[in-house]
Symmetry: C2
Subunit: 197 residues, 2 copies
């Protein structure tokens, strides 16, 4: 008995990650009842971003310019290249403030089952970049999952064949983690990688 | 260092209820990376709903037609009128399937502090409706909050002065509720309203 337009709005909100029917209904009625201007702003922001945000020619990250702000910044070290799977990984690393080099965003990981091969991850572009000789350290920061590890292995071999030194983010116990609740795989890595103090 | 358009999209998502910075970021990147068509659909649904959904002339509920589907339905009992605060209350009652009468949606509750008076809740319209003499039972289903009770009291007086019988939703222990965890106010109501079995 609900208005078809409200139903469609609820269905559309359900497309968003983690949003179920109850949350979608709440959002739809909230916009209609309390914040129509906010709704217009959201709709415009979605269309603008989807229409105008493309990929950086150099690092493949999302960018509304041909070359993204990080790649274009003269303040970044151009001899370090950090390989990540997604744009949100870049956001996380940037928030830590620990890294001043450049990125290369795969926009996924190797996954033969889903038909994702090296070309889909822009690895030919990465190969060209490594040939330039500007990169003196390739930092692998793919996720510690099976697919992430396989992707890292592939890129490691490529870089080694071109004499580019490769490093990998340290694996071990996360800060604030409690031993009791840490999975055995992480614990094994932490033991294997233990250091003299 | 994020694209300004992506930043604006994240800010816009944060306008939605219960959505914080992390969820907003996740939604923004999800739409860009995995579901741009879904994003366009969402944007369109928002604009369509905000532009075209108005209020029913009879019950004040959201409707894209002058008279909403419930008010226009010949299947509904026209002598029962249920007073609720918001359109989502109508959705909840409709889902229960227990009620076949009509609604009147206040779109809020009396709140002198926020400057919400009887006119803002459409009470003159309700008064006209009661004068018609078609309504033989007015069911008060406002929220059991201070404002909801005050609003119910006001409407009760209005209806009584016009000889329209008024009922109120039963208050007591909710189905599946455990006595141990029920607040003392509800428990008092349940005791006061106890029935012979």
């Amino acid at each position: 008995m609900q208005s078809p337009l409200i139903n469609e709005l609820i269905e559309a909100f359900k497309l968003l990650p983690t949003i179920g029917p109850k949350s979608a209904q709440r959002m739809a009625y909230y916009l209609l009842q309390n914040n129509p201007n906010g709704g217009k702003r959201l709709a415009e922001a979605i269309v603008e971003a989807i229409d105008k945000v493309g990929h950086c020619d150099q690092c493949r990250n999302f960018s509304e310019t041909d070359v993204c702000r990080i790649c274009a910044s003269p303040a970044r070290k151009r001899d370090q290249l950090c390989i990540v799977e997604t744009p949100t990984d870049v956001v996380a690393i940037e928030q830590s403030g620990i890294y001043q080099g450049l990125y290369f965003v795969l926009m996924g990981h190797l996954s033969p089952i889903d038909g994702v091969g090296p070309e889909d991850l822009g690895l030919p572009l990465l190969e060209e970049r490594l040939k330039d000789g500007e990169v003196s350290e390739l930092i692998l920061a793919t996720n510690p999952t099976v697919e992430g590890e396989a992707t890292a292995h592939y890129i490691h071999q490529m870089a080694t064949s071109m004499q580019v030194p490769v490093t990998r983010l340290a694996q071990g116990i996360p800060l604030g983690g409690e031993l009791e609740y840490i999975d055995s795989g992480t614990l094994s890595q932490a033991f294997a990688g233990r250091k003299a103090v």
